[in-house]
């Protein structure tokens, strides 16, 4: 990719990330950290690409590519499950009637 185009993307993405999170209430900090952890699980795509371009006759390349895909998939799947479980607890903003016994 053209170097400067990428730099512009870097810059805009950085501001986006900063803006998106700046309005998050403290109560959601942990789920959000977990959620952003899930989002960078998209590294899986890069890992698949790397493994897909690895030379099938080179065991070391295959092994490393395999490890990359394995770890990327774990990041994505684990990150999703954990985030979803945490957020499931925030189901409704008004749980008053459920809480009272």
């Amino acid at each position: 990719m053209e170097g400067f185009t990428a730099l512009y993307i870097f810059m805009l993405a950085a501001f986006t990330g900063y803006e998106v999170i700046s309005r998050v209430p403290v109560i959601l900090h942990t789920p959000l950290m977990s959620g952003s952890n899930f989002v960078h699980g998209v590294v899986l795509i890069g890992a698949m690409y790397a493994l897909g371009k690895a030379d099938p006759d080179e065991p070391l390349q295959l092994l490393l590519g395999f490890v990359a895909v394995f770890l990327g998939a774990a990041n994505a799947a684990g990150g999703y499950v954990v985030t979803e479980r945490m957020l499931a607890m925030f189901k409704s903003g008004n749980r008053k009637e459920g809480g009272e016994k």
């Binding site: 899930f38 774990a74 499950v81």
Partner: protein, 459 residues
């Protein structure tokens, strides 16, 4: 060519949904929807990647996805809510590891890159490796496998030179026409060692900030990999996470009044703690019955939960007790320190799990003025976050950290397992105050006893 266009279009939509998903996650009402959207986007991105022309080793790819995804899915499902922080740490480490492994494949394949690409490739590899090994150490610490904070002699110099040396070797490899296998190997060993050395000396109290920082690191590494692989979706997702992670880290560090550079370069260790001021006075305890009556006949009770409550899994009992007291006309609220527990918001999650409504949970700034009007501050398994030396003792390593002013309440009851110091190893002056009494026992059992007595008082 047309299939390539389709792949690119999908990636574009995926990146957009990720950003919208993260935004949705910023409000309790839409948070769950946000992560579900992002989940669909992730699946779409993964499936469409198989359609990139010329990909080999597809069988191996599927196997790795099924294995890695399966193991993580399962472990994520069974993990206890209290162990969430270390799970986030380990999944984050895996992402960093993936980024590092991608870099390794690229380096070994010896693809020619221009200077900027090579630099980002190497930086991504270093950052990814640091995130991987650092997260493993963080996991080990939170899981209790590794208890001690180990500090090397001349730690800061070691960090500095190791970083320089690692990046130096990395750039040599990155710019080389055909880098040797040994150099590449050495480079990754050094980069991994750097992560271990960086996180090793950091005590558990600072762990939330570290996890958040490592999370941001992984994001950056992923973004850099996106540049190397020419994939804008990776760049956008990675950098957005990197930037938001940096901001989150700053917010957390600010809440602790510990600048990030202090956390990394001057961690609170046992040695530092010893230099803290002497505390005089004596510690007195009280019975569960006394605790119950103090609260039952009070007007306002503020509960300060900490890691001890999480470890004992006592949040349900605590909420049961709070409800009982409320039925008796006592006002009960929860006060949460920004870094209570092992992650910011950790306590909020646990209390939400137990069914405590948002309206009863307050931040440090919202509640601190109220302690003076409270009859009882009930501190459950929290320590450093209520230590008044942070306000008074300039020689203390936690001096200046904002704390919950539990000591200003009329009575302070501290539920605590034993007489040990807090995670930072600093003696707590609160326990020696005249208005403070200790209720010894695990949070679960102590609160259960209080509940029994509160019930008895109703009759």
């Amino acid at each position: 060519m047309s299939s390539n266009w389709f792949v690119s279009a999908t990636y574009f939509i995926v990146a957009t949904i990720f950003i919208l998903g993260l935004k949705a996650m910023s409000s309790p009402v839409t948070a769950r929807k946000g992560v579900i959207w992002a989940g669909f986007a992730m699946v779409a991105a993964t499936v469409i990647t198989f359609f990139i022309p010329g990909l080999q080793n597809v069988g191996l790819m599927v196997l790795a996805i099924v294995l890695g995804g399966g193991v993580a899915w399962y472990s994520g499902k069974i993990v206890k809510m209290t162990d969430m922080p270390q799970m986030v740490a380990i999944y984050n480490g895996m992402g960093g590891g993936a980024a590092a492994a991608i870099a390794a494949v690229e380096l070994i394949r010896g693809v020619q890159h221009d200077a900027m690409t090579a630099t980002l490739l190497v930086l991504g590899a270093v950052i990814g490796s640091v995130a991987f090994s650092g997260s493993c150490v963080a996991f080990a610490k939170l899981q209790g496998i590794m208890k001690k904070a180990v500090r090397l002699p001349g730690q800061n110099n070691v960090n500095f030179f190791l970083t320089l040396f690692t990046i130096g070797i990395g750039l040599t490899i990155g710019y080389a026409d055909n880098p040797g296998g040994f150099e590449i190997f050495l480079f990754f060993v050094l980069a991994l060692a750097l992560g271990v050395v960086l996180v090793m000396p950091i005590g558990g109290a600072d762990m939330p900030v570290v996890i958040s920082l490592l999370n941001a690191f992984t994001g950056l590494a992923v973004g850099f990999k996106g540049f190397v692989l020419g994939n804008p979706a990776l760049i956008v997702a990675g950098i957005v996470v990197g930037a938001s992670g940096m901001l989150l880290t700053q917010l957390m560090a600010k809440a602790m009044n510990r600048p990030i550079k202090n956390i990394i370069f001057a961690p609170i260790t046992g040695a530092a703690a010893e230099s803290g001021g002497e505390v005089t006075g004596s510690i007195r305890d009280l019975s569960a019955l006394d605790a119950a009556s103090l609260m039952r006949y009070g007007q306002k009770v503020i509960i300060v939960p900490g890691y001890g409550m999480a470890v004992a899994g006592a949040q349900h009992k605590v909420w049961e007790m709070a409800q009982l007291l409320e039925e008796g006309g006592v006002e009960v609220v929860f006060a949460i320190h920004p870094v209570a527990g092992r992650m910011p918001g950790h306590m909020n999650v646990l209390l939400a799990e137990a069914g405590v409504p948002y309206e009863k949970i307050f931040d440090l700034e919202e509640i601190n003025a109220d302690f003076a009007q409270a009859d009882v501050a009930l501190v459950i398994g929290a320590n450093d976050v209520v230590n008044p030396v942070a306000r008074t003792d300039k020689s203390s390593p936690i001096y200046g950290m904002p704390i919950l002013n539990a000591d200003l309440a009329q009575n302070v009851i501290v539920v605590k397992r034993g007489k040990g110091a807090g995670y930072s190893g600093i003696e707590n002056a609160l326990f020696y105050k005249d208005n403070c009494r200790m209720l010894y026992g695990s949070a679960q059992q102590a609160v259960a006893e209080v509940i029994t007595h509160v019930k008895a008082l109703e009759v």
